[in-house]
Amino acid sequence: MNRLQGTARVGLGALLALTVAVPTVAQERIDLDAATVGPSGEASTPVDAIPALTEEELAEISGGGHTAALLWAGAGTWYNALSAGARDAFTEMGIEVVTEAEANFDPARQATDIETALALKPDIILSLPVDPVAGAQAFRPAIDAGVKLVFVDNGVDGYVPGTDYVAIVTGDHFGMGKAAADLMADAIGGSGKIGVIYHDAVFYVTNNRDRYFQAAIEQRYPEIEIAAAQGFAEESRTQEIAAAMLAQNPDLAGIYVAWSSAAQGVIAALREAGKPDVRVVAYDLDATNDLDMASCGNMAGVALDRPYQEGRTMALLAAHALLGNETPTFVTVPVQTETRENIEQVWTENVNAAPPQEILEALAAGCA
Amino acid sequence: MPSGEARVILRVAGIRKRFGGVTALDGVDLVARAGEVHGLVGANGAGKSTLVKIVNGVYRPDEGELEVDGRPASFASPREAREAGIAMVYQEFSLIPTLSVAQNIQLGREPRNRIGLTDETELRRSAARILGDLGVAVDPDAPVGRLPVGVQQLVEIAKATSVGPSLLVLDEPTASLSQSEVEALFATIRRLCERGVAIIYISHHLAEVRKICRRITVLRDGRTTLSGETAGFSLDAIIEAMTGRVVAEVAARAAPPDASDRPPVVELRGWSLLNRLHGIDLSIRPGEIVGVAGLLGSGRTSLLRSIAGLEPAVRGEMRVAGRPVRITSPAAAASHGIAFVPEDRRREGIITGQSVQANHLLSTWGTLTRRFLVDERAALLATRSAVDRFGIRTSGPAQAMEQLSGGNQQKVVVARALARSPSLLLLDDPTTGIDIASRRELLGHLRDYADAGGAALIVSSELDELGGIAGRVLILSRGRVVRQLDRAAGEVLSESLLHAALHAPDAHPGHTG
């Protein structure tokens, strides 16, 4: 960087001295082998260890006329699967979903959603809190009203597990980060330069995945060099970022993107730059990216949690709480990876349906 | 007004003033005497406002002498001028609408009581005294914003005279006043003259200047072109001194051209608009100019607007060229050959920020095309020929509209209306706020248009003008035609006739047309 750029950077940096910066590279060394623990340090319970309801319990719940509210942080394919899992489980248990809302990642909006939902007097609230700090105040009225709270992915600071809320069901974000690193290493043959397009905002889920990916690459794959790292806040900008990265690092072998829908722009940039061999790794199921994967395009693989299963589990835990049963308070869903080899299987397991026709046709066509 | 030579209050001689490369004043002389009203007249840019600003202490002259009360004076600020006894009433009111009359008059100089607060009683009393001296009847406690414009003008003058000046400058004092308010103003001015105040009276209304001003000075291009006793100069001489050219008054035609073989351009029967117009019948033949006179609220503007298609709620029958029509929008009116020149030029007439050409060709773009695109050459030629034909003083079709004087802007608006060769031209007070030369030119073009077979319906508060150009005048009151004057029968519109018609005990709507 020449002096002009340097001066400009220093100047801007001074201006931004007060802003809260998200550490993009792990400041302390991350212990990749440590087990995933909950916010209060509790050990995690695998999702399969939650017992199903007995026949009597099922009858009791079904006849109880209970209601539930679903309050999510955002919307999209992943949330659709989560919600579908919860709704299916609730239907089986005779619990009615009275309202569903998404807060567009705005904590103020979520606080309003909670107030509105409480007016309907639900017995259960399933939620992905936008902000663990702001959530403490926002969810308090629900606790006071005796509503059973079950969280997914994010917890809420200061809440007592088991008392204030039933449980947190989460994908294994640390594990997903590590798995993404493994996918990347596989895809580019263990060595080479990669670019990292991370999420530049405070959001527990993505921050952990990004951190663990980078730590895993550094610690486990010394042959792989992170040649460029750029954050984004608006999803629509990943295409420009990827294009700029490629312009400055023409020999990139792979690019990591913070989540699936953001990866679509990256793939378009690669196509425009004429780089069919650069591999892309991201997270979560997405029809368009999976089509690219099936067509032997840039998409190499994604690491997944299981939103459908998480939804079902949340509903189940809530039902247990209504019945007065004790439940584990920190439940994790194991990491899954999807590459071209197992697209069909992953879709069937996670979405309960076959992948779209285009994907099947592309799979059948094979790679040249 | 006192006879003989009164004491000289103000004398300026050989005043020169330059702003950068522009010479605003190039050797101006003026003498204002006590108890005399001295009219200061000139076109826009002639130097009137620069001259009074020098007298008022806003500018200092580059050359020349300024004497107040026989002593040489040089003002560094308006305050010094005020202290020397010179007061000015500007065109824009300096009154604060939310305060009372008394508070406005004494603004900044309120009488205070022992503890330093405003002494309300004394405030009111002194204000009442000032107003009484001027013969102005108004409640000192009334909030100024609620008063009619004419009364506000008098309050403004009371404010200026409250410091007891020896010279008072009035800038366009009758701009927003009705006839009766002008009379009240003149009464106040006469009172001031009796007290020995010298008055400089700036106005475009030459009729008024000739009425109230003993002496007159005409400026043109920064020089004095005429000065002396008003009675000694004819109106034409004054106009020529102002403009440098002879602009003859538009003479009325003795009788309207005989067009009985052609159908009337427009006919109205039972024309009514809720609360505005009541059962008006009207018929206008080709080549006729029909005038509409009446006070504010008489429905004269509603009449025009409803014919122009701007009042969809209007009821009644309308025929254009003999065929019944129902016009519900200005676009529809235009398609029937009706063009409209609105009253508020600034808000409804011109497009500021766009060129003269854009303003001129507003309604005719569709006709200036060549293969779907605008024919730039034809457009340029069209505007240039309009500039020539209407005598529009502009540097060219590309000039920004707001740089033109009011009179020239109005010429563009009229040129635009005529560009579509309408069969009926509706004009709502087209000559307000325009200098006398442009007015005459506009009326001349209107006469040409009528001679060529066009018909016009014109609303105007300038009764002399209206009476001069219109072959027939309808007097409207409260939405009805109370009287029709026919020039051919020798009935010429005048102030007194209007007054009589509006207050006649048995005024009834007659048949017209």
Binding site: L4 | S335, R347, Q354
Partner: protein, 332 residues
């Protein structure tokens, strides 16, 4: 008979040909062009070694700014007519999804494109009718349609993205290159010419400017101002629909989040380019320059390696400066 003005008003003679042809592309806002060149020079000097001056990078900028440029052309018409359209971002999402869904149903490209365009025009028509008939300010109307349309986009595929597999469509509408020239650049250039001629050289364009300059004056002169405004709003929505299709072609997929960040960029580009927010003054070429200025700014700040926060602050500051200079230049 009154004489005309005897002393001839000084008017330059008409020189046919060159004079009037160039008059129609005379830049309204010289300062914007100077600013653009200044920023270009700054980045060229400081980022010459970081890939700013490469043909690939310029091709990137051209591609990245294409959609915004095209929408800015439409917005120029809307603003010039005295209205504003806040719903363009939502129309982008809707039209992208519509074309993707229609292509997925194996309909011919022409039908899919027509359907997508129709969806956009329908929104524009609704905006226009609500604004002119109900006399609600277009700001409020389009604020409402913005939400309604994005809701419709979400419902259309239940938030699921729709891939676009039709290679011809993808080539024609965003991903293709003809030689070294990206197809998006051709779209931008074509739109530039068409919209510039429409605004500056047709009676319709003059009437749009008149309507925005002074609605009353235009109306009294016989211009059907309601129809003009409706046409302008439909034109704006049409450009948003085209942008949506280009997104779908470029990304080879459509999702309901497309276009959600574009509104502010489009308005900034249009205003920087010299179009007045109050109507009556508009420049298509200026809108292009404004769009390129913003795109180049984004690109340069990115290449400089600034973090998101730093980029946002720098971008905002420079845009404020650019708009302020642009407004001052254009003020009478």
């Amino acid at each position: 008979m009154p004489t005309g003005d005897g002393a001839a008003t000084p008017v330059a003679p008409v020189r046919p040909g060159a004079r009037w042809r160039f008059a129609s592309v005379r830049p309204d806002n010289l300062i914007v062009y100077i600013g653009f060149l200044a920023i270009l020079a700054f980045f060229a000097i400081t980022l010459g070694d970081r890939g700013f001056l490469t043909p690939e990078n310029f091709a990137n900028i051209a591609r990245q700014t294409a959609m915004v440029s095209i929408m800015a052309f439409g917005m120029t018409f809307v603003l010039s007519s005295g209205e504003i359209d806040l719903s363009i971002g939502s129309v982008v999402a809707l039209s992208a999804l519509v074309v993707a869904v229609l292509l997925r149903a194996d309909l011919p490209i022409v039908v899919a494109v027509a359907g997508s365009l129709a969806a956009g025009l329908l929104v524009g028509l609704a905006n226009g009718l609500l604004t002119t008939r109900l006399r609600i300010p277009s700001f409020l109307v389009t604020l409402g349609t913005m939400t309604i349309v994005v809701g419709a986009a979400r419902v259309l595929t239940d938030l699921e993205p729709v891939p676009v597999t039709d290679r011809t469509f993808a080539f024609l509408f965003g991903s293709g290159t003809i030689g070294p020239v990206p197809v998006l650049l051709i779209w931008t250039a074509a739109a530039l010419v068409i919209f510039h001629v429409l605004l500056r050289r047709t009676p319709f364009g003059r009437q749009v400017l008149a309507t925005g300059g002074n609605r009353a004056a235009a109306r009294y002169s016989g211009i059907r101002t309601d129809r003009i405004k409706i046409a302008a709003l439909m034109l704006g929505a049409a450009t948003a629909a085209l942008a949506g299709m280009l997104y779908a072609g470029r990304l080879q997929g459509a999702r309901y989040t497309l276009g959600e960040d574009d509104l502010m960029t489009v308005i900034a580009a249009t205003v920087i380019g010299g179009t007045s927010l109050f109507g009556g003054r508009g420049s298509i070429v200026g809108a292009l320059v404004g769009s390129l200025l913003v795109g180049m700014l984004n690109n340069g700040l990115l290449l400089m390696g600034l973090s998101v926060s730093e980029q946002l602050i720098a971008r905002g500051a420079i845009i404020i400066a650019a708009v302020a200079l642009s407004l001052r230049e254009g003020a009478p």
